[in-house]
Symmetry: C2
Subunit: 221 residues, 2 copies
Amino acid sequence: MDEIKLIEVKEDILSDNDEAARKLRDKLRRDRCFAVNLMSSPGAGKTSLLLKTIAALKEEFKIGIIEADIDSMVDAEKIRETGVTAVQLRTAGFCHLDAAMVKTGLEGLGSESFDLVFIENVGNLVCPAEFDTGAIKNAMILSVPEGDDKPLKYPLMFTRADVLLVNKIDMMELSDFDPAALKQRVQSLNPGMPTFEISAKTGRGIALWTDWIRRETKVFA
Amino acid sequence: MDEIKLIEVKEDILSDNDEAARKLRDKLRRDRCFAVNLMSSPGAGKTSLLLKTIAALKEEFKIGIIEADIDSMVDAEKIRETGVTAVQLRTAGFCHLDAAMVKTGLEGLGSESFDLVFIENVGNLVCPAEFDTGAIKNAMILSVPEGDDKPLKYPLMFTRADVLLVNKIDMMELSDFDPAALKQRVQSLNPGMPTFEISAKTGRGIALWTDWIRRETKVFA
């Protein structure tokens, strides 16, 4: 089993992030590496989703994981237990990932040899939406306890996402979450965005997400 | 009932935020205005807590509310229904409040005539912790579904808070949240910080919080 590689990253404020992201995406396409940028609030279930995703797909894909955290390596340690290779980016107070940081993470991972890479962004609905990481797709998790009004408050995140996972549906009965209200708000920001109700805890709906990955990687390859 | 005042705010990157925050805090002290900066992840329950707090304290205190959101006025509209005066700061994509924005909000409110003001910061565990708003106290909400590992990942927020509210304890049985693990992590970052378990939904524990406000405002006055 690989050791976790820890990489300290800093924002390169002089570089043009959009240009760096475009170049990185081109390289990922050439390498046939389907990289997914995973964004959510703190505690919405990014790592839990990755653990279920790895369990479902690790026989079909060579999977690599880039973890980002301001501090600590708890997520990367959980990932390592699955046997999948992970690198940990420590952002030192920084609130989002940019393309230069992701490039560093992909180099740390050796992305050429992976066909599916998940980039776990910093838990934050604001800043990560503003910076193109260079990933092929953006996935967003909204967890039921956060509420159905989040598209009203964080519209850019819902606009930038290519797929939305509504997690913790096992907590639906304890909340006043209205799936129809969410759907209407999401569709008005991002018409046609695939949206899957899941529970990373119980495994419910995970197949909808992994099937989406299979379809998207087929088109991509 | 007052109309909601909507104020567009921008970051003043040329000003010294720490100095502006000190001046603002001095003014709040002179005005005997106990201003509390309320921070949390998206959907952790800031507005729900404020609604319960207003219901409990509005006969004892002249309360004003400053709402901050990137977009939308849904929170300020909920506050308005209580009859309490609210202003809405729209941060136009900005991920936190600074002292200049809060000063603008307090001026919009007319803070001299309020003895208790709550500033609902942008839902974000990263950036708001880095900027002193000038408030008298910082309160933080962590909601049970977010998990007990958040102090490991967002240590600055837990360090900056003067009081921690653990919300959504009604969801405890559906989660693997470990209150003892949280307590140990919080106390190692911020020894002695008062921590109250609450449910802004059921009202459980709200009296612990309102009693804390009564004690702190007594010392302050």
